[in-house]
Structure formats: structure tokens, C-alpha cells
Point group: C2
């Protein structure tokens, strides 16, 4: 057990570094940029609160585990703002390769059985095809929208985001998992676009 615990705590200590990865968006009080660890916490809370919007075949426990894990690769690969110059709804090949390498290294710190299970959850989230992943991804996309609404437009103004960009880069993924929520949120987002 000692070796297993040593591996587990090595992973948990490495994970601490996600608290220093900064995202484009700010806290709702505008005081500073959000980091990816607290963003992941917020997403798990979003999952709990918006669980009543999930289709019946969604397993909330798996969704929460996916959301807790989903950004760990940013420890090595960084966060790519979805509205940055040249941004699209999809990561570049180089970014995807960097994230794959990060996943291999970081999940590789765990005991092999656990590393494989965590990696499978991350792969499922990234592939975005199962009901759990689609719901999780829609939460990952709607939370920054709500942060920007609270911040009077926030990073949309910084990046000059258009309605088309909001709909294609963000709305399309939110609509897949949270269609009724997207209708509600979009109405409140549009007046704040630059």
C-alpha cells in the first residue's frame, strides 16, 4: 500500500499546480483572472445545480468526476482562450498533441489502474460524444458565459466577440447539453457583446 499511496500523493501534489493556471475570464467581482482549479470547482457546483436539466441517461457522479479532471492537462499545456485571436471551436493539432502528452505524464503519476480510469474519463470528455460528456462539456461552456454576463461583457469586449462567434464557439456546445438553458442565457448575453 505504501507505494500506491506515494504515487497517489505524488499525483495530488502535482495537481496543485492547476491553481496557478490562469484563464482569460475574471471572477464575477472583476478583481482578478480565474484559475483553472477554482473554475473546475465551480463547474462541479454547476453540475449539481443544473442536474435537473440533464437527460435521464446522464450519470451526475461521472459528470462531476469528468469536470474535476478535465483541465489537469493545462498544467503542462496551458489554457487556450476560446475567443483568442485565431480561436475556433476546436483546439489546434499542436494544442491537442500537447494535451495528449500532458495527460500521459500527469495521469501516469497515479497507480496504473487508477491512471487508466482517469485517462478514460478525460478521453471521454474530450471526445464529447457520450451523454455524460455532452452534459459536462455544455457546463464547461456555459460557466464562462455567466462569468462574462456578471462582468458586463468581460472577455467578450477584450476579444471583440461577435454574435456569430458566440453562437459557433460556445452556443453550439451548450445547446447540445443544455438547450433550454442556452435560450435563457443567450438572451442575457447578446446585449453585452461589443
Amino acid at each position: 500500500m505504501t507505494d500506491r499511496l506515494a504515487q497517489q500523493f505524488s499525483f495530488l501534489q502535482e495537481a496543485d499546480r492547476l491553481k496557478t493556471v490562469l484563464r482569460a475570464g475574471r471572477l464575477t467581482d472583476g478583481s482578478r483572472r480565474e484559475n483553472s482549479a477554482e473554475h473546475s470547482w465551480h463547474l462541479a457546483l454547476y453540475a449539481m445545480v443544473l442536474a435537473d436539466q440533464a437527460p435521464a441517461d446522464v450519470d451526475l457522479s461521472r459528470v462531476m468526476r469528468m469536470l474535476i479532471l478535465h483541465d489537469l492537462v493545462e498544467i503542462d499545456a496551458g489554457d487556450v482562450p476560446i475567443h483568442a485571436a485565431g480561436g475556433t471551436a476546436h483546439a489546434s493539432d499542436a494544442q491537442q498533441a500537447a494535451e495528449e502528452a500532458a495527460a500521459a505524464r500527469i495521469f501516469g503519476l497515479l497507480p496504473p489502474d487508477q491512471g487508466a480510469a482517469f485517462r478514460a474519463l478525460w478521453d471521454e470528455f474530450e471526445a464529447n460524444t457520450t451523454p455524460d460528456a455532452i452534459f459536462a462539456k455544455s457546463l464547461d461552456r456555459v460557466q464562462p458565459v455567466m462569468q462574462n454576463i456578471a462582468n458586463d461583457g468581460g472577455s467578450w469586449k477584450e476579444y471583440g466577440v461577435t454574435v456569430d462567434q458566440l453562437d459557433s464557439r460556445v452556443g453550439a456546445k451548450i445547446r447540445r447539453g443544455l438547450p433550454a438553458v442556452w435560450d435563457w442565457v443567450r438572451l442575457r448575453a447578446l446585449p453585452l457583446l461589443p
Copy 2:
């Protein structure tokens, strides 16, 4: 549904403030104090990783939900460092009253059915008598120990923590939920006490 969503997003926006509540301990790189939102994320990850240490009657999904919620009251009531001057293993009556009022206000932002369910999870965590709460509480106590070990003693040195204080304020709760882990961690903590 519109009113329900408005209440849910009001709660989720208020929850964002937990990212500005600072704890006594620091990140493992020592760069700054940890906030309670990213601490809660780290605990959910601890729960996933140390799930193989949980008794069979522990429901990991409930544990994760408890951990995501457990510090929200600090938005109003603040974080009380367990090793601060006059600190004990238990919160003061005044602190408990402040946390009860915070729970009423913050969970009260949600639709009533959801607010009651979240409040019940928080009450269960605080009472620390069910298998899920005991496991969750032991994670909440062991993570700061690991942060201090990574920080060469961290807040133990700042507060002049003794072996007896570590055992009574921290070890007793960890031992209830994670007895084998506490044996392993304690050996690594003792040489770093001041």
C-alpha cells in the same frame, strides 16, 4: 422554469465569491495562500484518488457533493485556521452561529427543494457522524497536512504547532476516515513540525 433558472444562476454567481476567501495554508509552490474554492476542488480530487481507502458503505458521489459544498458558508463567515491562536478541533459558538446564518442565506438563494437538499448535505458534513461525512471530513483534514508537507512545514511553523496539537486537531479526524493514510502521513509530518 425561468424563475427556477434565475434562482439557480443567482446562487451560482454568489458562489463565485468563495474564490476570494483565503485560507491559512499556501499552494505547494509557496507562491500564495490557497483559496477555499480551489481547496474544495482539490478535495474532490482527493476523494476520487483515495476512494480505494473508503469503507464499502461510503458513497463517493455524495462525498464529492459534500466537499464541493462544504465551505460555501465561508463566503459570509470566513475561514477559521485550525491552528490559529486559541484554535481547537471545534469551532466556537459564535463561529457556528455565523456559519448557520450563512447557510440559511446562501442555500436560500436556490429553489426551495434544491436549497433544502444542499443544506441537508452541509448539515450532514458538519455533524460528522455518517460514513460519508466521516470520510469527507478526513479528506478535508488531510489535504492541508499534505500542503504543509510540500511546503516544508508551512503554516505549522507560522503557528508553532506541536505534535499534540497536530494529533488532536487534525489527526483524530483523519484517523476516523482514513486510518492507514494517517499512519503514513503522520510519519512524514512529524519531522517538519517546528
